[in-house]
């Protein structure tokens, strides 16, 4: 028999294990730790209120992330097209990315290196258009499969793949501009030794950088 806490326990067992996924997605959408936390909390409360409609045995993670995205979009709409929390244009990479990570025990050198990389990557991610940001957060940051990401975003798998590809390319360009990816190391060794190393490519015809749907 279940006590009065049955629903809460079931919810905590089924949905709360996906809090990391929700938090990463929220960080990519909001760009600030405090707002991401608020978004996650609000999404969890909405999910809890709607838990009766959750079909047990189906994907709780995709369900939670879908609700989180809906909360985010509704809130943004309510604010009249403003970003959910703050302008992404005025990102301050010196301060903000540091605040999103938990402090961990590392040597100062490790910490400095990791912080520098994290700041750059996170700042670059935040500058991307939202359509790229959310797919990169779901697939690359949290490791969702394409099908699950497509379910969360409500778009075809092909769109997920093309946005992912273009999003990574834009991110690489920004990381090169910030000096994190230097031009030389961004060029891989050719798979066949006989082929000469290439210059960074100009772009291929017909590939658009805008997040238009595939």
């Amino acid at each position: 028999m279940f006590g009065r806490d049955g629903k809460r326990r079931a919810f905590e067992a089924e949905v709360l294990p996906h809090l990391d996924a929700a938090y990463r997605f929220a960080c990519a959408l909001c760009g600030s730790r405090a707002e991401a936390e608020d978004l996650v909390q609000e999404a969890c409360l909405r999910a809890y209120a709607a838990f009766e409609r959750f079909e047990p045995g189906t994907n709780a993670r995709a369900w939670l992330l879908t609700i989180l995205r809906r909360v985010y979009l509704n809130e943004r709409r309510r604010l009249g097209g403003q970003p959910f929390v703050q302008s992404l244009d005025g990102a301050t990479p010196e301060r903000e990315p540091r605040s999103i990570a938990d402090a961990r025990v590392r040597t100062p050198e490790e910490e400095a290196l990791r912080t520098a990389e994290r700041d750059l990557v996170f700042a670059a991610l935040r500058e991307l258009p939202e359509a790229f940001r959310e797919v990169l957060a779901l697939v690359d940051l949290h490791g969702l499969q394409y099908a699950e990401a497509a379910e969360v975003l409500g778009c075809p798998i092909g769109t997920v793949m093309s946005r992912l590809y273009r999003g990574r390319r834009q991110l690489a360009r920004r990381l090169r501009q910030s000096g994190f990816f230097d031009a030389e190391t961004s060029v891989c060794q050719p798979m066949r030794a006989a082929e000469p190393p290439m210059q960074a490519p100009s772009r291929r015809h017909g590939r658009q950088e805008a997040p238009s749907d595939a």
Binding site: F122, L141, S186
Partner: protein, 260 residues
């Protein structure tokens, strides 16, 4: 173009993304791979894609939900409980809860039935690594990074036990293909000594183990030179293997029963 040794047109972004994800198969995979082998542009593109993906994965290790957020969410849900007791919602809620519990129970039973774990088998599995360097698929001493890896690989959230108080430092983690997404093995190191901890979802039957003491939640076994210990916490079974004497393994477990 002078830099391309292929005349076939470049695959579209979807195809290259699918190739990168290992989602292509058969003739399509062969065709895309063949093109990429000959096309320097695609090679550069793919290398860039991999670099960005890796950079984001590293970022993910530092982006885990803070403990305070978990606490906040739990507290907020508890505060909302009153709303759930409205009669209209009650029946639906109960049905949902029953179904969830049923699914959880069925999953556990299937794990138990298909994964009865004899001590001898476990000792054999771990023999090579407890006597020498242990293989890891992901080497890291950062529990959060390892937990993130496990989550990505198996879709499961498993706590990473901390044995630092006994001198064992986390070295890495690998999957256990025989158990699908139900198990991973953590590898710890103390100087030349290795300790492996297989975490298995559910409560499988253990064969060849003996209870450490009446009422104790720890089962132990010694097979040849391998000491084994098993304990259960939060629906996960932890199976430890080491060349250390059994007494040392027992001492290790006492304070570590509540994984962080």
């Amino acid at each position: 173009m002078p830099d391309r040794a292929t005349s076939s047109p470049c695959p579209n972004e979807e195809a290259l993304a699918a190739l990168l994800q290992g989602a292509l198969a058969g003739a399509e995979k062969e065709a895309v791979e063949e093109h990429v082998r000959r096309c320097s542009l695609c090679q550069i593109d793919l290398a860039e894609q991999r670099r960005v993906r890796e950079a984001l994965r590293r970022l993910a290790f530092d982006l885990t939900a803070p403990v305070e957020l978990r606490q906040r969410v739990r507290a907020a849900i508890r505060a909302r409980r009153a709303g759930w007791r409205r009669p209209a919602l009650l029946a639906g809620a109960l049905a949902a809860v029953f179904a969830v519990i049923a699914v959880i129970t069925v999953t556990r039973i299937s794990v138990s039935r298909s994964h009865a774990v004899p001590a001898a088998t476990l000792a054999r599995l771990h023999r090579a690594e407890t006597l020498g360097p242990a293989p890891t698929a992901f080497a890291s001493s950062d529990p959060a990074a390892v937990a993130a890896w496990i989550q990505r690989q198996t879709g499961r959230t498993m706590p990473v036990p901390d044995y630092r108080s006994a001198g064992y430092l986390l070295a890495g983690v690998r999957r256990e293909p025989a158990f699908g997404n139900d198990a991973v093995t953590l590898v710890y190191r103390d100087g030349a000594e290795w300790l492996s901890c297989t975490m298995l979802a559910g409560t499988p039957t253990l064969r060849g183990f003996a209870p450490l003491a009446p009422g104790a939640a720890i089962d132990i076994a010694r097979v040849g030179e391998i000491s084994l210990a098993a304990y259960r916490a939060n629906g996960t079974t932890y199976l430890l293997a080491s060349t250390a004497p059994l007494s040392e393994l027992q001492a290790l477990l006492a304070p570590a029963e509540a994984p962080y």
